[in-house]
């Protein structure tokens, strides 16, 4: 079954043939993050793909993955171009290194998951929260519920983690 939904006034859809994305977002809708694990080389991959980027085998199984990591890079958008986001500036787009599989299969690789900085309830973060986050900030995964079978994985500050001093772009 295909999915058509609305998120912040923006039309989102997944085609019925797109099994990889349907499965990925179904687990997100259950707030239970899963990634594909290659049955040949046992490496996880992100985002969903139709074969393993390291051994090209197609066979994979969906396994639960802990949604914790640290911010590898970010951008703080002050001038939104999509109408859906204009009401939420400044908003952060984060590139997060998952703790799981970091540095594998080579030192420069990691499962780098994209998401916004949100509240624990999955709402785009207010300015005071945006201003606390930079490279190095420890974050945990939360979800923005969109529709049955579709939630977006997001990131919020991991309040239980020991936080390094984040690196932030100096100019406000």
């Amino acid at each position: 079954m295909s999915i058509k939904a609305d998120y912040l006034g923006m039309p989102l859809s997944i085609d019925e043939l797109d099994g990889e994305n349907l499965t990925y977002f179904k687990f997100c809708a259950e707030h239970n993050f899963h990634l594909q694990l290659c049955e040949s080389c046992n490496l996880l991959r992100y985002p969903p793909t139709t074969a393993c980027p390291w051994c090209m085998r197609a066979a994979a199984k969906w396994v639960p993955v802990e949604g914790r990591g640290a911010v590898h890079a970010y951008t703080e958008v002050q001038h939104a171009i999509q109408p859906a986001f204009k009401a939420f500036t400044p908003y952060l787009v984060l590139l997060v290194d998952l703790d799981t599989q970091k540095g594998r299969p080579s030192a420069q690789e990691a499962l780098r998951i994209v998401g916004n900085l949100t509240t624990a309830a999955g709402k785009l973060a207010p300015r005071d929260m945006v201003e606390r986050v930079g490279i190095g900030t420890r974050v945990r995964m939360v979800f923005s519920d969109v529709a049955p079978g579709l939630a977006l994985p997001q990131w919020t500050i991991d309040e239980n983690a020991e936080q390094p001093k984040p690196w932030r772009y100096a100019q406000t």
């Binding site: 039309p11 989102l12 980027p53 890079a73 951008t75 002050q78 780098r112 977006l152």
Partner: protein, 418 residues
């Protein structure tokens, strides 16, 4: 400058110097062309054919690139009375120019046609805004795009900023260093009568402009314009009869990618761009090294893209790009000027082709600045680079173009004067 011959190089390439660019043309650079991309395209291609001193019947191949925002080759060929033996319209934006020049060499080498014109026609301001507002942001978000656009991560600036910011984090690159790219290119544009933005701006002006998405200020971003550009490629032998000195193609690298190009940030260091891989093809193919290059055309969709590519192609050490673009090297009058037309930041946005056109003119020693023409019809260059003056680089012999699609994909080309 004496160039290495086949014997001097470890990687002999039999196509080196065998093909040439013999014609270049463009429309004016405007915001609000008031015409279709078809009309823009036929205007630019006609100018290139006339620049080369050819007739339409001399051209039998056509290539174009676009992103669902332009006309197709058959319409341009039809308008200009060109009967084609080969054409192809390719999907893509930045990095396409150099890659398509390589494809033109390949199809001529294969005997499929003799002379190829490539064009890019776009209303990048008045129809499909290249910055992503309007038509592009109205497209529904589906499938694989749910991992990007659903997060308000869509425009080129938003998508590339992880690389830009991480370079600052990894190497201490400062906003003022990269802002020097805009200041420099604006100084070049002030000597280019056809540039859209001809006013000189300072590093302080860039830093005082509003933030779009960190670390990009408004003036770190290129201009959106309506225009078309065209280039004609043929064999060096056929090019002997041309109107201008030939711009001989030394070597090309086309759409070279980092690993995991579906989501290249999976593979670090993310502050490294595709030039790291492309340089291993470009320099051996061309038989020259960065120190042999007189003028660069490093794609300036953003100030950062110029800096990152110059660094990863080896014009300076890794991590020293900020220093390289801010120490005067890339200015007219400096050791190796970059984007002497003003580039995408100032002249106009064409997805890379105007930077190749500029370097062809540099190699002809005939940049279209305000210097007076002599009896032979060519400009008598003063090499006085003050505002409103000359922009010809003295004794320009070798140029390099570094095209950018995104941090993970790039193309490049080296040309030399005949």
């Amino acid at each position: 400058m004496p160039l290495p011959t086949e014997m001097d190089t470890s990687s002999p390439k039999h196509l080196r110097d065998k093909y040439a660019i013999i014609g270049v043309g463009e429309t004016s650079y405007t915001r609000g062309s008031g015409m279709t991309t078809r009309a823009l395209g036929s205007w630019a291609v006609r100018n290139a054919i006339e620049d080369a001193g050819l007739r339409p019947a001399d051209v039998d191949g056509m290539l174009s690139y676009q992103s669902g925002d332009s006309t197709f080759a058959p319409f341009i060929a039809g308008d200009l009375g060109i009967r084609l033996n080969f054409y192809m319209d390719v999907f893509g934006g930045g990095s396409s120019t150099e890659a398509l020049i390589g494809m033109a060499m390949g199809v001529i080498e294969a005997g499929m046609c003799k002379t190829v014109v490539l064009f890019r026609a776009m209303n990048g301001f008045s129809q499909v805004r290249i910055g992503g507002t309007g038509a592009r942001s109205a497209v529904p978000v589906s499938g694989d795009m749910l991992h990007s656009r659903a997060y308000g991560w869509q425009s080129a600036g938003q998508l590339f900023s992880f690389t830009f910011l991480r370079h600052m984090y990894d190497f201490g690159t400062t906003p003022a260093q990269v802002a020097a790219v805009r200041a420099t290119h604006s100084a070049h544009a002030s000597n280019n009568p056809k540039a859209y933005y001809k006013e000189r701006v300072s590093v302080e002006d860039v830093l005082a402009s509003r933030i779009i998405c960190k670390p990009l200020h408004l003036l770190d971003c290129c201009v959106e314009t309506d225009n078309a550009t065209a280039i004609i490629v043929t064999s060096a032998a056929r090019a002997r009869d041309g109107r201008h000195p030939r711009a001989l193609i030394r070597g090309v690298a086309g759409r070279v990618c980092k690993p995991r190009i579906d989501m290249h940030y999976q593979h670090g260091p993310i502050s490294t761009v595709a030039g790291k891989y492309a340089r291993e093809i470009l320099w051996p193919n061309a038989g020259v090294a960065p120190e042999d290059v007189d003028v660069t055309g490093s794609y300036d969709a953003f100030t950062f893209t110029t800096m990152l590519q110059l660094e990863d192609y080896g014009f300076c050490k890794k991590g020293e790009g900020g220093q390289y673009v801010s120490d005067g090297t890339i200015r007219l009058g400096g050791r190796r000027p970059n984007n002497t037309s003003g580039g995408h930041l100032c002249e106009g946005y064409t997805h890379g082709m105007n930077m190749v056109i500029e370097n062809v003119r540099q190699l002809r020693h005939d940049t279209d600045d305000s210097c007076p023409r002599g009896a032979d019809g060519r400009r008598q260059h003063s090499y006085d680079y003050r505002e409103g003056g000359c922009r010809q680089v003295k004794d320009c012999e070798v140029t390099a173009n570094l095209g950018w699609a995104m941090p993970g994909t790039g193309s490049a080309m080296v040309m030399r004067r005949d």
